[in-house]
Every structure is written in structure tokens, then in C-alpha cells.
Amino acid sequence: MNQPPLVKINRVGKRFGSGPLVLDGVELAVQRGEFVSFIGPSGCGKSTLLRLIAGLTEASSGELVIDGMTPENARELMFFVFQDANLLPWRRVADNVELPLLLRGDPTVRRQERVAHMLEVVGLAAAAQRFPWQLSGGMRMRVSIARALSVAPQILLLDEPFGALDEMTRDKLNEDLLAIRARDPFTGFFVTHSVTEAVYLSTRIVVLSANPGRIAQVIEVPFAYPRPAELRETPEFLQLLAKTSRALRAVRNN
């Protein structure tokens, strides 16, 4: 671990306008290939932190360095799964997934292959020609996930991507995400409310406290990749799960 961190968050604070402090003194260094989950109470600043990394909002104090660049300049390397599905209402499902590939100029055939494959992964091959308003909430979110995965970015920011999905679909997509990561390695930043998910996917879990958002605890997850689905039933896993839940509860209670 002697190489410089891919993402360096340096005593970052954030407030909107003259509002209260939303994030305070956030300090984090993330190496290439890590998968960091953020958990914390609603409104504690998780989305804001992701948006800071993506350069969609500016830090009020401190600084972020990503691969030696400012967040804005490093967007090249990143993609974002937003908390809302954020689909273009006038594009069909397949066209929505295709959009980032189209924008970066991938050739048509490659685009179509990738779109078809990703829709297969999220189980929406049959809905490829529908418009967003014809989808269920969970399906919309899956389109958004397919869109992000099709880009295969170096850094993937995921803001509660699986919140609107049933446990089974969720577990499957968790596994798919790890599989994709094994093939096309990316550094992940992941917001979730599911502790299980956080433990299963991450190398590290950052527990945030609220008002203002501060890093309360960082929990290392020692399990090696690839992680089989059954890992989730092992005692070590359940132990870490309990630890994380406790940390979260502690944060909540003060």
C-alpha cells in the first residue's frame, strides 16, 4: 500500500448556502480497487459525499484529490448511479442505457451488444423498448444500474442503487456486481442502508454520524474476493454484520 491513494478526501466540510454544516472534517484515503460503503442515518450527508467526489458540488472547506486531479477533471474516470433513477423520459429503456456509450462515442455495434448484455444482467431484456413511465419503480432503478455498469468506469459511485429492489433481486445484483468487478476492476463508493449488503460487497465500511455528518467509525472487511454467495451465512460474516449494526446504532443514539 505504498502507492498514493486514488481518492483522497482531506478534512472536507460542506454546508449549503448559509445552512447548517452538513459534512464536517471528513478525512478518507481510498486505494485503487477498494470498495467503500457509506452507511448512516437518513440525511447525514452520504449522497452529498458522493456528489463531492463526483465534483457535482463543491466542498466548503478542505479538498478532494482524485488520481491527482480535482473531482471535476477526474469525472472522466467516474460514473454515478443516482439515488433517483434519473432516466430521460423521452428515451426508451435501451436508449437510456445506451446514452453514456453514445456520448463517449462507442461504435454502434459495441453499444448494442453492451446494452443487450446489461439489460440481461438486470433482468430487463423484455422491457428494452418501453418508456420509463411504463416501468415499475424497481425496474427504473435497474435501468439506471445497467446504464452505469455498461460504462465500466474506473470509479463507480452508487447511491442506494438496490433500495427499491426485493431481497432476491438485490442479492443477485450484489453477486453480479462482484462478478463484474472481478472482470473489469473498479474502485467503488457505495451508499446503502442494508448492512448485509455493505459487508458483503465492501473492503471497508464507513459509518457516518449525522448533524453534522462525521466519520464515526471505519470498519475493515477482511474477506477475500471472489466472495461466494454463501459467505453471507458464515459466522465470521454474521459477526461483522453485528458489529456494523452496533456501530450504526451507536451513531444513531447520540
Binding site: 460514473f79 433517483d84 423520459p89 423521452w90 456520448l103 463517449r104 418508456f131 413511465w133
Partner: protein, 261 residues
């Protein structure tokens, strides 16, 4: 099927009602026909003057169509330039307003001098009268784009041009189409004014604007009203076209059209 039929019957019923009202007003107020003719007089005049009216409409349509296209096209690109950056907007918007608000009668001689009497000047005048609604609406559409989608485009490293093409233009469509509809109603008026300020007529046969004054000065009021209604027909063609476009472009996704079940 039934809905289809109803959508024809309803305006027809209103139409009949309005015509009845027109008769009634005429009866009660006793306005003479040379001021407000009755519907049947207008109809008869339209029939009597049909050959003149048809060729007047033909003449005026060209100016109206070209002026409309210019207003829509140039208006759209102007709006795009304005929407492109707040700096461009701040710099140019006031002057576009000046252009719109400058009474066209004042500029007409300049047009005629440069473009000559006839079609080019008429088109220029029609353009002047119709372009601003397109600009105002489309600009508003451009700046009303969902912030979240804008952030998506940021994350996609979309160029400004891509953002315009794939996000702002489709997002502004409902506004643009409304502007286009207004331009459509203004185009015939513009062409008539143009005809008036820069047209010319041979053998007593000019465009609608020309016929308007001619009938007016000859006190042929029923024919005058017939001419006015003919101008409206021309306008309906534009509005019909825009409505069709509206349907084509929005019916699959926009809230104004999509029928949720």
C-alpha cells in the same frame, strides 16, 4: 371511435352557437352590413370572390410558409445560442427584445430597399413578427431542464453540444412546440402585414393583405370578412401542422399526451 366523433361534434356545436350569436348581435344591435355583415353575407361574398381569394391565399401562403419556417428555424437556433451560456443570453437577449419590439413598419423600408419589393421582404417581415415567441419559449425550455438530468450529463462527460442535442432540445420540446404554435398563428398575420408593407399587385390581384385594403376602400365589408376568415384558414394549416408535430414528438412520453391507465 365515439371519442373521435365527439372531437368533431363539439367544436361544430360551438361553431353553430357562435354563428347564432353573431346573427343575434347583428339583429339586436342593428349594425348595418357594411360594418358587420351577417355570416351568410360573408359566405356569399366568399363564394362570389372565390377566384380572387384563392389566388390571394396562394400568393400570401408562400410568404407565410417561408416566414414561418424562418421564424421557427432562426428562433430555435437563436434560443439554442442563448441557452448555451448565460453570458451569451445576458449579452444578446435585450437586443433581441429590441428587434421584436421595434414596430415593423419602421424597418419595412429598410427591408424593401435591401431585399426589394415582394417575397423576400414579406418573408423578412413575417419572420420579424413571428420569431420572438419561438425564442422566448425555447429559451425557457432550455433553462428549465431538470437539474438531475444535467448532472447525469456531467457524469457522462457530455460535450456542450451533446448536452444540447440529447438533453436540452428534447427537454425543451414542449416549450418549443408551444412557441411554434404561436408563431403559426402569427405567420399569416405577418404575411398580411408584409403584403401590406412590401407587397405588390398586378391587375388588381394581390395577396390577402392587399385584398384587405382593396375591399376596405371599396366598402366590400362581407368580402373583407371573407378575406379575414380565409387568412384564418391559412393559420389553421400551420396550427394543424404544429399539433401533428406535437403529437408525433410527445405522445409517447410527455405528461400532456400520455394517457395513464
Amino acid at each position: 371511435m365515439k371519442a373521435r366523433l365527439l372531437s368533431w361534434i363539439q367544436p361544430a356545436v360551438t361553431g353553430i352557437g357562435l354563428i347564432a350569436l353573431w346573427y343575434l348581435i347583428k339583429k339586436i344591435s342593428g349594425v348595418p352590413s357594411f360594418i358587420l355583415p351577417s355570416p351568410d353575407e360573408v359566405l356569399r361574398a366568399a363564394w362570389d370572390e372565390r377566384s380572387v381569394l384563392i389566388s390571394a391565399v396562394m400568393l400570401t401562403s408562400r410568404g407565410a410558409v417561408l416566414g414561418f419556417l424562418a421564424a421557427v428555424g432562426v428562433g430555435f437556433f437563436l434560443a439554442m445560442a442563448l441557452g448555451f451560456s448565460p453570458r451569451i443570453k445576458a449579452s444578446f437577449y435585450p437586443y433581441i427584445l429590441v428587434l421584436q419590439m421595434m414596430p415593423v413598419t419602421i424597418l419595412a423600408p429598410v427591408f424593401v430597399l435591401w431585399l426589394g419589393q415582394g417575397l423576400p421582404s414579406i418573408v423578412a417581415i413575417t419572420f420579424m413578427i413571428g420569431f420572438f415567441p419561438v425564442v422566448a419559449n425555447t429559451t425557457m425550455g432550455f433553462v428549465s431542464v431538470d437539474r438531475n438530468l444535467q448532472e447525469l450529463f456531467l457524469m457522462c462527460k457530455a460535450t456542450r453540444g451533446q448536452e444540447v442535442r440529447y438533453l436540452r432540445i428534447p427537454g425543451a420540446m414542449p416549450y418549443f412546440l408551444t412557441g411554434m404554435k404561436i408563431a403559426g398563428t402569427l405567420a399569416p398575420i405577418g404575411a398580411i402585414v408584409g403584403d401590406f408593407l412590401a407587397g405588390s399587385a398586378q391587375g388588381g390581384q394581390g395577396g390577402i393583405g392587399y385584398m384587405t385594403i382593396a375591399y376596405f376602400s371599396q366598402l366590400k365589408t362581407p368580402a373583407l370578412f371573407a378575406t379575414g376568415l380565409t387568412a384564418c384558414l391559412l393559420g389553421f394549416v400551420f396550427v394543424g401542422g404544429v399539433n401533428w408535430l406535437h403529437w408525433r414528438l410527445l405522445h409517447q412520453w410527455h405528461d400532456s399526451m400520455v394517457k395513464k391507465e
